[in-house]
């Protein structure tokens, strides 16, 4: 494999002066031109992961360990100012709610042009380039729309403007945090199609965060499954769907009603995600895991390779033995 464009190593973030751990020892690499899907439920820390990479953590949250290497440079070692510069050029992010991410009293075209102007592009050229970007993100009649305000646009159109702003900086890595969650399903389909197209055309490297495995199936090349702030599993998307190794991944897939599966009783995961203030010792999934063994409650499992490109944090991933029989015995 080529050198990853973005590499996160041992990222740990804490809250409340270090007493509460939000993310623990999260590591992954993003290859150039790859889409890494990050899937997790609320409380998994997936948004914190995005903000950590962007260097935009809220004040109360601190990164206590880990490196964030973008194209060979450790962002975490940079001064906040230098990190901000990288954020303006090499790293971009789109959010779940475009309405709150856009400035409500500024014309949307100007918000895109602002990013271009920061790169030293003269005003007139920036205006033209903004229209081109609007065309790229398939906003109809871009010449008129650049003069509109955010509230005049639909949710889907606003998200397209956000994507245009992100692309204006010509970033090496784009982080998308639940960009389609607030949208209707038909609009979501359009935005996913658009992101896929742009990603192919521009060879964009994309970290796509979502709670929706269907969206993951649509867009991801590889998938990182987060559970309660730890990586549960990381693997190519087909392996995640066909041969999940972590009991949590498996249960998650089974608990979703699928449009083309016979309707039976849904498989459920008992209980709920442990609260961030009261993480259990050992494996954080242990209390909900039907295959748990004594050791699971004692030691937290390390992320181990199951095959060359699949790793799971489980003392007994499915690939090695059949834990089902053992659990039944």
């Amino acid at each position: 494999m080529a050198r990853p464009i973005l590499e996160v190593k041992g990222l740990t973030t804490t809250l409340a002066g270090g007493t509460i751990t939000i993310l623990e020892d999260v590591s992954f690499g993003l290859q150039p031109g790859e889409v890494l899907g990050v899937v997790g439920e609320s409380g998994s820390g997936k948004s914190m992961l995005a903000l950590s990479v962007m260097g935009l953590l809220p004040k109360a949250v601190r990164r206590t360990a880990g490196r964030i290497v973008l194209d060979g440079e450790d962002l975490a070692a940079l001064s906040p100012d230098r990190w901000r510069e990288r954020r303006g050029s090499d790293l971009a992010m789109i959010f779940q709610e475009p309405m709150t991410a856009l400035n409500p009293v500024m014309r949307v075209g100007d918000q895109v042009a602002e990013v271009l102007r920061r790169q030293g592009i003269p005003a007139k050229k920036a205006r033209q380039e903004t229209i081109n970007l609007f065309r790229k993100v398939e906003i109809p009649s871009p010449e008129q729309r650049v003069r509109g305000y955010p509230h005049e646009l639909s949710g889907g159109m606003r998200q397209r403007v956000m994507i245009a702003i992100a692309l204006a900086a010509n970033p090496k890595v784009l982080i998308a945090d639940e960009p389609t969650t607030a949208l209707d399903v038909t609009v979501q389909a359009q935005i996913l199609d658009l992101l896929r197209k742009l990603q192919k055309e521009r060879g964009l490297s994309l970290v796509f965060i979502t709670h929706d495995l269907g969206v993951i199936a649509e867009i991801a090349d590889r998938v990182l499954v987060l559970y309660a702030g730890r990586v549960a599993e990381i693997a190519p998307v087909r392996k995640i769907f066909d041969n999940p190794q972590h009991p949590y991944t498996r249960a998650l897939l089974a608990s979703i009603p699928e449009i083309d599966r016979p309707r039976g009783r849904l498989v459920t995961i008992e209980g709920a995600v442990p609260s961030i203030g009261a993480m259990p010792k050992g494996c954080r999934y242990a209390s909900r895991c039907p295959f748990r063994r004594d050791i699971c409650e004692q030691e937290s499992p390390r992320l181990g390779l199951v095959s060359s490109d699949q790793a799971a944090a489980c003392v007994q991933p499915f690939g090695f033995e059949k834990p089902q029989e053992e659990a039944l015995a």
């Binding site: 159109m157 979703i256 498989v267 995600v273």
Partner: protein, 334 residues
């Protein structure tokens, strides 16, 4: 086949009017629900799907007369709800209830779980203190919550647990018709499955009739017997769940289904993309309201509003071309 009807909406319309202008005030009306006809059959789960702004939540509230319709009538077990006095309506609420979307906003933060459920009995003056206490505990058992929850406050519970409280409150009076308004949409997927299973179990145990409102088509397919598709304040198609998901007749239903994310990365993708935006409810177009975005639009669609007509396989569709049989054949996997 004959069915016993629990609730029936006849030409129900809701116009939300807002005043515009400072001096010369004029009323601007948004037709959230526009001449809606719908029947819910006893014991079934009728799924109601549509995108945001289509009026599906308003429909749920109109059926319960939680908001007053601008026109039309709602027959509940044969009685017209819109004709009832405030007092009669209040007592009829024992038979119809609603489960809300937001497990955080739907419980009064200053009331214990026990008080929240017991309020149902107090409002209707049923039972004494001791029997109410007993019933509350039974309701907690029913929704699989620990009995110790009774003296606790909502903020002490997770979203899924709060949703169980909301269900217990809705079912406390033993209603026969329950509107589930996006009841699992705010929950994490692993918790969502628990609540879906619970709703299904309770339906079997208590012989409930559900109107299940959701934007999540996979969930609707899983739980529903029949499905109604709403677009811009109207029903455009109603069919049995399997018919609707395998042979969607209305072009909008087809577009909606093709937009559902795939369940596996290898599944072929075949979209019927929708162009343009939803027209505003303030200015509903003449003719078929889907015409502006329909890939199969003809001239007549822009002039004549298609009625919701029966098709050969017992479903109802509001589309000129579906009625003629001139729509191209639909396939999700072509």
């Amino acid at each position: 086949m004959t069915f016993e009807t629990v609730i029936e909406a006849r030409g129900v319309t809701k116009v939300f009017s807002t005043q515009r202008g400072l001096f010369r005030r004029r009323s601007v009306g948004a037709r959230a629900v526009d001449g809606l006809n719908l029947t819910v059959r006893s014991g079934e789960t009728l799924g109601l799907v549509g995108e945001s702004g289509c009026g599906k939540s308003t429909t749920g509230r109109l059926l319960l007369r939680l908001i007053e319709p601008t026109a039309g009538s709602v027959l509940f077990n044969g009685r017209d709800l819109t004709e009832l006095s405030t007092g009669e309506l209040r007592s009829s609420r024992r038979q119809m209830q609603i489960i809300f979307q937001d497990p955080y906003g739907s419980l009064n933060p200053r009331m214990t779980i026990g008080d929240a459920i017991a309020e149902a009995y107090i409002i209707h003056g049923i039972g004494d203190r001791a029997s109410r206490q007993r019933w509350v505990l039974e309701m907690l058992d029913l929704v699989r919550l620990p009995r110790s929850a009774v003296t606790r406050y909502p903020h002490e519970f997770s979203g899924g647990q709060r949703q169980r409280v909301g269900i217990a409150r809705a079912l406390a009076l033993k209603p026969n018709f329950v509107v589930c308004d996006e009841a699992v949409s705010a929950l994490d997927v692993s918790v969502q499955a628990q609540i879906i299973n619970l709703l299904q179990d309770l339906q079997n145990e208590l012989k409930l009739t559900y109107l299940f409102i959701s934007h999540n088509l996979s969930v609707v397919r899983h739980i529903s017997d029949r499905v109604a598709v709403m677009y811009l304040g109207r029903i455009v198609e109603i069919a049995d769940v399997d018919a609707l998901f395998t042979r969607p007749a209305h072009p909008y239903t087809q577009a909606l289904l093709s937009a559902i994310p795939r369940s596996h990365p290898d599944e072929p993708r075949h979209r019927h993309p929708l162009t343009g935006d939803l027209p505003s409810a303030l200015a509903i177009p003449k003719g078929c309201r889907f015409a502006s975005r329909c890939p199969f639009v003809q001239n007549r669609c822009r002039t004549f509003d298609p009625p919701l007509d029966p098709t050969p396989d017992h479903s109802l569709v509001a589309c000129h071309r579906a009625a003629d049989g001139t729509l191209p054949a639909y396939s999700l996997n072509s």
